[in-house]
């Protein structure tokens, strides 16, 4: 067991530690580290290294250069060339955009790069009266923007891109003539200041709130001061270190979550270094949900893969699909967009084939001018709005002939476009029907047009003629004939209006005849009915109704006797009763055939006779019908009669 504990050294009473080399640095440093200025990002993040910062020569070839390495010494960015004469100091900081670096130059100016990958250096405004290096400084990140906080004598300055402003920490004990050390917490939320009066001020980094103040009675500048906290603990503390002393200063617990380097950031770092397999292994080991883990890494890999210009489109597409398959959360369209961005349209199309979401396929296909493909994808999705979008795109892109041909091969799109035209472009609708030789619909189209577009009777008849022709072509003889009848009726109605006055146009044939009868033009009515071959039964109903409306009882009686009624005489009874003319009704009741006799007699209120007929008929249904009409006292005898007849019928 010795060998396991041999390397462990005691630390205090209950803790042990050991030291061993995890890996050796890959970097090939010519200088010793002590000749360089070094800053390392937390959690194994990148290391910034400034070589020979104190060299005196000013030859261009030996300008100080800032190199950034990974934690294992792999060069990440060696391009950052510091343009200032001298670099006095540098700080690395972290924002949502990545890791940035702030530099204090020999000219006592600050320069900032928000992202070490993006080499934009930004010169910060001058600090008024700054003749020497500040006693201490740090980078604060607030609302995604990096600021520099620096101390000059008793004053604190906040530098942003635009201005330099003096700030005062709230509740700071008086008598401070210099700030010796400052530390900002990992989350950039908290700030600690160490003053030459031996005080430690702790507060929010916004300098709006004080958390606490502590007098440590040591006025010597500390070697180091950092914020710390136990994982998931809400307690915060500042650790201050001198040569031979360590002090932990804390404040009351408060509910602020301490953020650590998340696994996502770790994976991002690996992905940016193209260590895809390692990242995937970590995801699998940690059993991360696919969407957050493996899928994301594979998607990054695929985006890298499409940039490999020496591999053919087929091979890239196949390789990507083999690896990605239907992995949830992978956006093939994002990868395709990347491929298109690299000028590989064909590859992009191949990749889009694997994209299940049409909503994602279609816009990119349109952007790549593959509108016809976009159309079939949109149709597959069933999303009609998407289909419309492509259609309107195609309409602008293609000439009319090609556009129509494209539609012809896509029935679903064609129907949708027809609907669009019905409301927006009527003429195009006609052209579409023409192209398809859809004569039936063309006929209907012209029928509609005869109402909508035409005012004059000649125009309307002409439109109807076109409709009738179309119906003939469609072999719809019925519709053609009906339309011709309609033309005939229209002309006739115009003539009637001219000759008789009044309103006839657009009345139905039935109503036209009725109007003629009501106007006393019986001959014309007869003629019209003959011309249009109105069936006898309907004509009888029509005349009956019209004459009753006129209350022309004499004419009605004449009409009823003109020949045997094809609708019987019950309707005569009914209509007279409707007009409350019992006298006339009774005339017809006697002529009603035996089947409806009972009904007719009941209608005119002759319950007794109705009972006689029902008894004669020996019809049970009729008997009960009459019985249900026996209400008043006068009907008592009739009711008895029926009951007797019933009893007799049952005896037999």
């Amino acid at each position: 067991m010795d060998c396991y504990t041999a390397n462990w050294n005691p630390l205090g009473d209950s803790a042990f530690y050991r030291k061993y080399e995890l890996y050796s640095m890959d970097w090939d440093l010519k200088e010793e580290l002590r000749d360089c200025l070094v800053a390392a990002a937390p959690y194994g993040g990148p290391i910034a290294l400034l070589r020979n910062p104190w060299r005196k020569e000013k030859a261009a070839s030996v300008r100080p250069v800032l190199d950034i390495y990974s934690a294992s010494g792999m060069p990440l960015a060696s391009l950052l060339e510091v343009l200032q004469n001298r670099v006095l100091d540098a700080r690395i900081f972290h924002t949502e955009f990545g890791s940035g670096v702030a530099i204090l130059t020999g000219a006592h100016r600050f320069t900032l790069s928000a992202n070490v990958g993006d080499l934009k250096l930004r010169r910060m405004p001058e600090v008024p009266g700054l003749q020497s290096a500040p006693s201490c400084w740090t980078v604060l990140c607030q609302d995604r923007v990096a600021h520099i906080l620096l101390a000059v004598g008793p004053d604190l300055y906040l530098l942003d891109h635009a201005a330099c402003s003096a700030v005062t920490p709230p509740g700071l004990a008086p008598g401070v003539s210099s700030f010796l050390q400052m530390a900002v917490s990992f989350t950039y939320r908290h700030l600690a200041l160490f003053t030459d009066t031996g005080y430690i001020w702790m507060g929010t980094a916004s300098l709006k709130e004080k958390l606490c103040e502590f007098n440590c009675n040591i006025r010597a500048p500390p070697k180091q001061m950092v914020w710390c906290s136990r994982p998931r603990s809400k307690e915060r503390a500042v650790v201050v270190a001198w040569e031979r002393r360590l002090m932990v200063v804390g404040d009351a617990p408060e509910s602020i979550q301490y953020k650590q380097l998340t696994i996502q950031v770790l994976l991002d770092r690996l992905v940016l270094r193209r260590l895809y397999p390692l990242a995937i292994q970590i995801c699998e080991y940690l059993r991360l949900p696919e969407v957050q883990g493996v899928s994301r890494i594979l998607a990054h890999w695929a985006c890298y893969k499409v940039q490999q210009k020496d591999v053919s489109d087929e091979d890239v597409a196949r390789a990507i699909n083999q690896k990605l398959g239907d992995t949830p959360g992978v956006s093939y369209s994002d990868i395709a967009a990347r491929a298109y961005g690299c000028g590989r349209t064909e590859l992009a199309i191949k990749l889009l084939e694997y994209e299940p979401r049409s909503g994602e396929q279609v816009p990119l296909l349109l952007k790549m001018k593959r509108s016809k493909l976009a159309l079939s994808k949109a149709i597959e999705s069933g999303d009609t709005d998407l289909v419309f979008t492509v259609l309107l795109h195609l309409k602008n892109e293609l000439n009319r002939g090609d556009f129509f041909m494209t539609l012809r091969n896509q029935p679903m799109a064609l129907s949708l476009y027809r609907q669009f035209c019905k409301h927006q472009e009527l003429e195009t609708l006609k052209d579409l029907y023409n192209q398809d030789d859809n004569h039936q619909e063309l006929g209907s189209f012209h029928i509609r047009a005869s109402y909508a577009a035409e005012e004059r009777i000649e125009g309307r008849v002409a439109a109807l003629q076109t409709a009738a022709d179309a119906f003939y072509k469609a072999k719809n003889e019925f519709a053609a004939k009906a339309t011709e009848d309609q033309m005939r009726l229209l002309r006739l109605q115009r003539r009637l209006e001219d000759e008789l006055g009044g309103q006839f146009l657009d009345l139905s044939l039935h109503d036209t005849v009725t109007t003629l009868i009501l106007g006393g033009h019986n001959k014309r009515a007869e003629q019209l009915a003959r011309d249009f071959r109105i069936p006898d039964k309907r004509l009888w109903w029509l005349k009956l109704t019209a004459l009753a409306d006129l209350e022309d009882w004499e004419e009605l009686e004449k009409f009823s006797k003109s020949k045997k009624s094809p609708i019987g005489y019950l309707p005569f009874v009914e209509i007279c009763m409707k007009q409350h003319n019992k006298y006339e009704a009774k005339k017809y009741a006697s002529r009603v055939g035996p089947e409806q006799k009972v009904k007719a007699l009941l209608l005119v209120g002759d319950v007794a006779q109705a009972a006689d007929v029902a008894i004669e008929h020996r019809n049970e249904a009729e008997l009960s019908l009459v019985l249900s009409h026996c209400t008043g006292a006068t009907d008592g005898a009739t009711a008895d009669k029926i009951q007797r007849a019933r009893a007799q019928a049952q005896k037999k």
């Binding site: 899928s295 239907d326 679903m412 039935h510 309907r538």
Partner: protein, 605 residues
């Protein structure tokens, strides 16, 4: 407010709460006072998910109806347009916005598209130069609106016409989206059955959408066991027949809109003593009809013939309950009585309302014409004289009865005869055109395209085969032929909802549940469109182990509309002791034969 939604086997209040939350979130995005400009069609459906109080809580101070020109003056920070994605509405919005700008730029404009944002519409706004005026342009995916504890509707008026006449599948896409939302809330539905072309397409879209969301594994335990997608054109017959349930008849006669009905006010006049009958209300009486009302829940699905006896029984119980007050002697008893008073008064009010409605309906159903019409319908459905010109229809035309009534009957005859003989068809068409006007040639054409009216092809009438196999007519169910009154009082079969005819659509659902569609393969082949089954695999943890005796829950989706009588028939099946299946019903539209035909009619002037 919507407790009745949670009474059923599936708690549909979960859906209602989800859509309400989405609405609140959107309103809060537009900080400050607001005015809503409504696409008028949306106000009815919205009323079912959010009352004005909710809007008011989120600083909605004014409401307007969308119309041209200027917006009415309103001192608010935000103007929000609630609209369906339609081009013609975009034109109106643009007009509003442009005339507003001239008065000075002070308001923020937003658009909420219901149920889906549309690129086409946004392009139109862009072309009109107003797209940039809108700060938030979002969609509110209100696809399926909960109407009752077991009923969801998209209330998409044009769905049938669009799908079956115009080849426009927009509403099918929305249906699929709505089903995805349901699955997100109630778990993946493991089995999908379907019959019909549209059903097939919706299933395809669902499978496709599921693939699009592969990332988010649904970890909700499935509430529904099956989904049955049914095309309305598989059963064109049922809606044409007159519904004979209480709710069905209210809808047939007065029309139920978004669960409200407007009734003639005379019967509802308050009976005050000494009032001398003056001040009769002139405004229609508006009543909400849903299962939140205890009495209505009990009688809505009964055959109308059975409603009267329930009402009189109820009347006795309620007056007995009120009589109890004479027996209440002690303070405790009186207190007990008083505590029940509000409930009793509500019950009495409800009884009075339904007694009045039943009287109104009875006036219609006892009329001779209603009887004659019903007789003809029943003859057709039982296969009598379907192949020749019908006297009653002829007389209806000659007397110029309502065209919709005539069309319903002619279509019913055509469907019950697998199409009419060319001569008969042409005769009806000619009669209709001569009597009602030649412009109706367009309507007739639409009905033919929808298959409601057609010439018989091949001279073969398949309807008798369908009728017998599926036992659609009561006599086929029961040879002895029970008296219809007995059947309606104490039904043993779904055919009670049409006093003899069992709705084909519901019979299909019933047979699917037991013994399965394999038993009716032949009939399924005769009915239009493919029938199919799809499985959506579940992770093992979510697979259901049914307890013995536990019913399955089937979501049945009618693509193209459903009638109240069909809903009643499905509820009847749900309540059967040994039924084995409970149904939740979804549809593109709650409809009846009249509203259906009306939507298919075309009036060129």
């Amino acid at each position: 407010m919507a407790a009745h939604l949670s009474y059923g086997r599936v708690n549909l209040n979960v859906l209602r709460e989800a859509v309400r939350r989405e609405l609140r979130e959107f309103l809060d995005k537009c900080a400050g006072s607001k005015a809503i400009v409504w696409d008028e069609y949306l106000t009815g459906p919205f009323g079912l998910i959010a009352q004005y109080s909710l809007l008011k809580e989120h600083e909605v101070e004014k409401m307007f109806t969308l119309k041209g020109n200027r917006l009415p003056a309103a001192d608010v920070k935000n103007i929000i347009f609630f609209v369906r994605p339609r081009l013609e509405l975009m034109d109106i919005i643009a007009e509003n916005v442009l005339s507003e700008d001239r008065r000075g730029p002070t308001r923020d404009f937003h658009i909420l598209f219901v149920p889906r944002r549309s690129l086409l519409c946004e392009q139109r706004l862009k072309d009109l130069g107003v797209l940039g005026s809108f700060i938030h342009r979002e969609e509110y995916s209100l696809d399926l609106i909960p109407f009752d504890g077991d009923l969801l509707s998209m209330e998409s008026e044009g769905a049938f016409k669009e799908c079956y006449l115009e080849g426009d599948q927009t509403s099918l896409y929305h249906a699929a989206k709505g089903l995805m939302t349901l699955q997100a809330l109630y778990g993946t539905i493991p089995q999908i059955f379907g019959k019909g072309e549209c059903a097939r397409q919706v299933a395809n879209m669902m499978i496709r959408m599921k693939r699009e969301f592969t990332g988010s594994q649904n970890s909700i335990f499935p509430v529904f066991d099956n989904l049955l997608l049914l095309d309305r054109n598989v059963d064109l017959l049922t809606p044409l027949a007159t519904q004979l349930t209480y709710e069905g008849l209210i809808d047939e006669i007065y029309g139920i809109q978004n669960s409200y009905v407007k009734l003639p006010p005379e019967k509802f006049a308050p009976k005050k003593q000494g009032d001398g009958g003056k001040d009769l209300p002139t405004e229609a009486k508006k009543l909400q009809l849903n299962s939140a009302e205890e009495l209505y829940a009990e009688i809505r699905d009964k055959n109308f013939n059975a409603v009267g006896s329930v009402l009189s029984k109820k009347a006795k119980i309620i007056s007995a309950a009120f009589e109890e007050r004479h027996n209440a002697k002690t303070v405790g008893e009186i207190k007990q009585f008083v505590s029940q008073l509000p409930h009793m008064q509500a019950a009495r009010g409800s009884l009075a309302n339904h007694t009045s409605i039943a009287e109104l309906i009875k006036d219609v159903t006892t009329s001779e014409d209603f009887f004659d019409k019903l007789t003809v319908e029943q003859e057709f459905m039982s296969g009598i004289d379907t192949d020749k010109v019908n006297n009653y229809i002829e007389d209806c035309i000659a007397q110029k009865h309502s065209l919709i009534k005539v069309l319903r009957l002619v279509c019913l005859q055509s469907v019950c005869n697998s199409g009419l003989k060319q001569k008969v068809l042409d005769y009806y068409k000619r009669e209709i055109l001569q009597t009602y006007g030649y412009e109706h040639i367009l309507t007739l054409h639409n009905l033919e395209k929808a298959g409601l009216l057609k010439p018989q092809t091949g001279g073969r009438n398949n309807y008798p085969t369908i009728r017998k196999t599926l036992r659609l007519w009561m006599d086929d169910v029961n040879e002895q032929g029970f008296c219809s009154l007995i059947i309606s009082q104490n039904p043993t079969d779904i055919s009670y909802v049409y006093s003899g005819y069992a709705p084909l659509s519901v019979r299909l659902a019933q047979l699917l549940s037991r013994p399965g569609w394999r038993s009716i393969e032949e009939v399924l082949r005769i009915l239009p469109g493919p029938h199919f089954e799809e499985r959506q695999p579940l992770p093992t943890g979510l697979q259901k182990k049914r307890q013995p005796g536990e019913n399955r829950v089937t979501l049945i989706f009618f693509l193209g509309g459903v009638t109240f009588a069909e809903i009643a028939a499905l509820r009847f099946l749900s309540q059967l002791e040994d039924g084995g299946t409970e149904y939740v019903i979804a549809t593109t539209k709650l409809m009846n034969g009249t509203s259906w035909i009306e939507a298919l009619m075309e009036k060129p002037f």
